[in-house]
Symmetry: C2
Subunit: 434 residues, 2 copies
């Protein structure tokens, strides 16, 4: 274990993020020592730590240290921290906040999780639109926020309504002359109750560095900076990835090799059992058509390829539609357009696949032509239906305010599989003449 002096000089060379990572893997005594050494930097580090470590710090710090900590964390980080800590820790921390800080925080805490209000910071520079260069620079000097909150200065009219913004570098460039001509009109902003994904969408579309947040009276109450948005985007990517992997999302983000066995099993098993039980539907249908299968057991050989093709064709569409929904390119009212488009695509793709399949079976195996035709006709119908259902399901889910991705996946597979088998066996009955 390192002594105080060694730890100190080690931390001096490290940035906040790397220190936070380091603390997580330290032994307890070393951690407690680090908290003392890092007292001055703790306001910047605290929000980067895990909940367990944060609780430990609150326990180990005395009143003076807690006061310094809570009054020097940036407001947006502090709200994040408080939203994640248990009630007892929150009141412990807020006890030491100054009256002013407490008010700001309590205001910010009112915004629902994932709203623009919940990720914004109250640290921004606001001034009258008639301010002089000197007045603006004075405000920058007095500001307490980090530099990412100071590079744009917002201007207000007499009713505190946002009416302009100017880049700090432009204030310096114009050095008093033409200051007003450099002030731009704000056309892009969010409201406190908008979803944080709406803020991310605007950042992405307009390549923003800062985004003003307005309350219901159109008064500016905060800003969202690009570092906040990177968080929102990674949360979204994690979400997509969990959906992709078919696992439930775990609370904390632990690297693979460090994850414990049982949380991993818990994450995965629910979905697997759910899918296994959905898949039994297909079993029931096969049982029902057992007679047909008995007289032509070779029919079984094509069940996997038909079901897989239907599943794949459907999930292509449902993923694209889910994506377009989240980009707000389409909405539930476009359902007929989507169905029309997918029907055309389905027919064409179905035919091409059927032809490929027909030739393959003709050349590659000794399958009876009637079975070959049964498979090909089923393929066309399956692809067509999969495309249509794959397009409809996410839109229907969205209409009922359900998550399109979660709803559409397993339901799609079950519907498409069931449908495919019924079509398959009935065409077989007619064509093969069982």
């Amino acid at each position: 274990m390192l002594n105080v002096k060694e730890l100190k000089s080690k931390f001096d060379k490290m940035n906040d993020f790397d220190i936070a990572e380091e603390i997580e893997i330290m032994k307890k005594e070393e951690r407690i020592l680090s908290y003392e050494i890092l007292e001055d930097r703790m306001p910047d580090i605290f929000s980067l730590l895990s909940i367990k470590i944060r609780k430990e710090i609150i326990k180990s710090y005395d009143e003076k240290k807690l006061k310094f900590l809570v009054n020097n964390i940036e407001t947006d980080d502090l709200t994040d921290v408080l939203q994640e800590l248990p009630e007892s820790c929150v009141s412990e921390l807020l006890k030491y906040a100054t009256e002013e800080k407490r008010k700001i925080i309590q205001n910010l805490l009112k915004y629902p999780k994932n709203s623009a209000g919940s990720i914004m910071s109250a640290d921004f520079i606001a001034t009258s639109i008639n301010s002089s260069t000197e007045e603006i620079l004075e405000k920058v000097k007095d500001s307490s926020g980090g530099h990412e909150h100071n590079s744009i200065i917002y201007t207000f009219d007499d009713n505190k309504i946002l009416n302009g913004y100017i880049f700090l570098s432009d204030v310096i460039k114009c050095s008093g002359k033409n200051l007003k001509s450099k002030i731009k009109t704000p056309t892009i902003y969010v409201h406190t109750m908008d979803d944080q994904e709406e803020a991310a969408r605007l950042f992405n579309k307009y390549k923003l560095l800062c985004l003003p947040v307005l309350d219901e009276n159109k008064r500016m109450v905060g800003i969202i900076t690009s570092d906040d948005i990177l968080d929102v985007i990674s949360e979204e990517v994690e979400e997509d990835f969990s959906l992709m992997a078919g696992i439930s999302q775990s609370e904390e983000d632990v690297p693979y090799l460090k994850m414990k066995l049982f949380p991993m099993i818990k994450e995965r098993i629910g979905r697997l059992i759910f899918l296994m039980i959905s898949a039994t539907f297909t079993g029931l249908i096969i049982e029902r058509y057992q007679k047909i299968l008995e007289s032509q057991v070779l029919l079984a050989a094509f069940i996997p390829v038909l079901m897989d093709s239907g599943g794949n064709a459907g999930s292509q569409v449902s993923t694209i539609i889910t994506r377009s929904l989240s980009l707000k390119e389409i909405s539930a009212k476009d359902i007929f357009k989507v169905v029309a488009k997918e029907a055309k695509i389905g027919i064409i793709i179905g035919f091409v696949m059927a032809i490929v399949n027909f030739i393959r079976l003709l050349i590659g195996s000794a399958v009876d032509i009637k079975i070959n035709l049964t498979v090909c006709i089923t393929l066309i119908i399956t692809i067509l239906i999969s495309k249509i259902i794959g397009g409809m399901l996410p839109l229907i889910a969205d209409f009922f305010h359900k998550d399109p991705a979660v709803m559409a996946g397993p339901l799609l597979t079950t519907i498409v599989d069931t449908f495919t088998l019924i079509v398959y066996f009935n065409i077989a009955r007619i064509l093969v003449g069982i």
Copy 2:
């Protein structure tokens, strides 16, 4: 169609991004008119337009206008634009660039696609570490880059090696006193030849606003700003999403409802046919074990549930491992740790699923206990093998520098399905005694 005056006043109220969108959907005459009206703003708008429109602008602009355009686009935008335009347009444009601009651009164009060098901008403010506040502010005034390139000032030693950086707001705050104490040591940077995803990872991890880019001699040659990174991240998300949907990625990003039928079919059909042909492997195996199936046709009813469960179990792991690989949490050398971990998880999940399935079949259907046991034992082995192969495949692909996601998906399905069926029919042969 709007006249010049109407168009002008309409554009005056719009930002560059919205104008670019508007131009894309205009009629040709209106577009040509817009290019004239927007002459002054074109350097900011040009890189936001589609390739088709850019070509049209180059054609319609005279020498004077092209000169203004090419010399006023920010360098990173200009390199982006040039990389996408055909050779003839590139030389047409570069002809009008100033000597200095051309040199910078030709330098930037040397960096390979998707490298940090290819997305960086050469517009940044550099000064000696011994500069005074006045000198720094003078440099800011002289700088031509956008405000996102001016909020951090970089300092160099006598050998032009990067040795510090300071926020513009800190320069103003300290007003001459203690300037040096505000200069921070740069510990986070990329090299020109690093992958752009490495830059994105650093932005994400350290919540950066700017990232310096160094050449092989450790000299700073550019910066990457957060708006560049938002582009990189959306490209990556698009890539993930295409993989998720099992479609090949289209060149241009067109909203769903506006996409034409044939490009959509082209995007989708390759993967579907490929998967269909892979799935025929399973058909061949079923054909091979036809005799067993003939004597116990009910065995066919459980093929879908076994194959689906194996596929789902395997893709959970392969997605998690692919993700961990891209976050650099694991590498090919961890393969034994991954296999050991997944084997344990596989055994436990396999047993739980087998028990659930056993009870379901015992209660819910009149299946012979021997078939029930066959299904349950196969389920355990399938889950175990799927977890292990799902963990290994992405690591092996990565070791051979292949894309883990593309390689692992279809290969995984084929291996797992084949394996599942062979195990299933052989256990059936023994247990059911065929």
